[in-house]
Symmetry: C2
Subunit: 498 residues, 2 copies
Amino acid sequence: MNKPGLISLAGGLPNAAYFPFASVTGEILVPDSFPLKTNSEESSLSWFWKLFSRSDKEKTATFTVGKYPKHSGDLALESALQYGMASGQPKLQEVIHEFVEKVYKPDYGNWATLVHTGNTAGWATVVQTILNPGDGVIVSEWTYPSAIGAMQPYGSIPVPVGMDSEGMSSISLRKTLAEWDESARGMSRPHVMYTVPIGQNPTGTTMGIQRKKEIYDICVEYDIIIVEDDPYYFLQEGKYVPKSERVSETELDDEAFIASLAPSYLKVDYQGRVIRLDTFSKTVCPGARLGWFTCNPMFAERLERATETSAQAPCGFTQVYVTSLLLNWRYAGYIRWLKALGLQYKQRRDYFLDCFAEEFHLQPSTSMQDTAGATMYYASLKPKRTFIPLSEKDTAFSKPLFSLVAPSSGMFVWLTLYFEDHPSFSTMGYKALEVKLWTEIAEAGVLFAPGAIFSPIPVEDDTPGNGHFRVSFSNSNPEELKKAVTVFGAVLRKFVRE
Amino acid sequence: MNKPGLISLAGGLPNAAYFPFASVTGEILVPDSFPLKTNSEESSLSWFWKLFSRSDKEKTATFTVGKYPKHSGDLALESALQYGMASGQPKLQEVIHEFVEKVYKPDYGNWATLVHTGNTAGWATVVQTILNPGDGVIVSEWTYPSAIGAMQPYGSIPVPVGMDSEGMSSISLRKTLAEWDESARGMSRPHVMYTVPIGQNPTGTTMGIQRKKEIYDICVEYDIIIVEDDPYYFLQEGKYVPKSERVSETELDDEAFIASLAPSYLKVDYQGRVIRLDTFSKTVCPGARLGWFTCNPMFAERLERATETSAQAPCGFTQVYVTSLLLNWRYAGYIRWLKALGLQYKQRRDYFLDCFAEEFHLQPSTSMQDTAGATMYYASLKPKRTFIPLSEKDTAFSKPLFSLVAPSSGMFVWLTLYFEDHPSFSTMGYKALEVKLWTEIAEAGVLFAPGAIFSPIPVEDDTPGNGHFRVSFSNSNPEELKKAVTVFGAVLRKFVRE
């Protein structure tokens, strides 16, 4: 990093000879480790058997990175394990830049990327950099709790706007901003938005290009910076098709695959008002603690300065491992990996919703079929141990107990619980009933995430509303997913009759 | 982490089968890679030749960590690369706890440790957790700039106190607190102190136990939390002995070695008011981005919560590598490594100061021989190209141009520049002269760190004072160190006559 011939005694750098690592080696999976299509003839559990037969069949490649580079520009521990610039290893910067250009296709020329240590830390850095204490931040009415938690130490105040099955509502956003009453609110109109547009956490919604354009235009009008936290971008699973109607997947070439994904806000950002947060947590592994910002160069410079007085730079080992992985796979290999990964999550999503369809009677909502392909289902109890189709008059069972949005991306199914008919509703209210039901499910051996934690503003005992659960299908095995839904059904049957 | 039999669908965890790393391998140096004693017969460059002959003689060991554990409790990528608790891998926690207990010997029982991503990030987390905007923080009059930078976004205000050759002055501290005038200062008396007591950055001072006790007692009296940032703890080099008087090192056993080190504030902390920051940056490598807090369990719990909404946890790769290294070496091996590392820095320090003694006439200050072994030298020019002892009457050369504190720990030599006799002193002042001299040295090919950046409060053009440079001997090779001092001498000769 020094000029040739310049002797720097300015820094406080240990000599690399004192780094006790002579070399590091990684054994990595090959990009085509998971299949690109499903066969409807095969068991719907093929994704699962593939996972658990891995130990015999796993195909791997290896790389080794030594302390000193063999060729100029090579990754080497000498520099990767040294104090480094907050912008990260040059090779990693190149790989990320190529990826953003080819996949997200930003709408202006001089965008910049900057590595960070994961989207939550990235968001905290944004908050520290562009917000003043007491500033409001536009968020969705249901939001990732750590994003709210990261704002609190900086005195930023969440301003929730309404959602529909495509995520944040442009109508609700415009209304919130147009009707902003500074004195009633006790703060100025917000100039920053935090949003998870794909696989929205917790509701599982996917926002299409049309909605993004509407929201972007409103943000231009009201001068709002959009912070797009998009960890689930490559977990776009498409519309849920009930098991009986499902057909084999068709394989897409790389360009068709990228075109099939709901685009990033970067694609419509002609003014440089989007700060996009990408992470390797869902596509490589969460322990990498590595991701990046894509934004205009002025924002990138400020974020880099803020990084220098906190994380300083992402861990050198993770830079070595993720960079070596991506250099080994190359762009095409990583796209191959991402395609197959998306399919894995699609199969998980399908299997999990199939479990719900077996346990409950699911009735698609006719009004909430959104453009991005999510469908809302009303769920009612099936008559126990019979499979006779429900008569419309059989009100004891046809009344929906909850609804679920069949997600078209991400890891989560969002349940909205209808407690109005519960015997204790008038005395307990929905919040206490949510806690009660959550506890009963947990006592029966299944942990759901309680809905109240995803509210960006405190939920009071007498706040009107419905109960919610966020339920993840990302990690458990099929028996666990099946059992969880069965347990939920059994607890719910008991719960509604209490 | 789940109860046996409990099915958790609450989190958003990817399945470990999707982590593309099958195994990682590290080739590590053995603990006795560097010698434990020097021989005065040997060249003073033996540390250097040892480094650069490494490629042939390096003795290494290897470890491999696979995706799934062979035995319960083993390190495994399945958990290390997953979302993890902010407290880190259990094996790493154990290693750190044992180390703190044996080396720092805290003065109370229920102290806790918590991993962080490096001392600067750790300090930023402390600021976020225990300070409110507008709160003052006691710092030394010369302070690590990133520590000040980390405070700024939180609105914390540095309150500098005076230093002597042992670091922060207890007299100046008491005076600052006793005379605190809330209305004149515009803020309450501070309740937090930030201090680098060993190898102080930038001044290179070392604080002994007596001074620490004095400062601790004042902090008890005024209810101040001490944040001890101690990255250079194992770089305790002892008193500088001029080359002609130097004798061979004696080898210390482990207990004698630990007893020979200036103790941590933890050793005198009977009230739990110390938050100690340790890092692997100087003892393993900076790219590890790994360190830990040692503090009372109440503070640890708050720091853990703050970590959850920012870094979340240190990188999984670094946890695997540092933990495996320390498990491989065991406690005794790590102590062996640290002993030898300290000796390497001692030899570097000695060589660098020898270069100064060759280039300049160094006169030890009789008044500043402190208890921790640092000595201040006044440096004047030697008559060019002659080695005739200076006559006391030869005022042209005997007048000191700068002083240096021969550090007894750390990486830095701190120069205080006396500009009063410079022809432009009355018109330019010391700050502009510092910049001018720094620029001339840089243009001659040597980078020093300019002193003004280490002032925690802004230095104005007309602030009275002396110029300063911080000069590091930690990373360069002997030719570079020698050349840097020679260049400095040549530039200085020209500078004083301009």
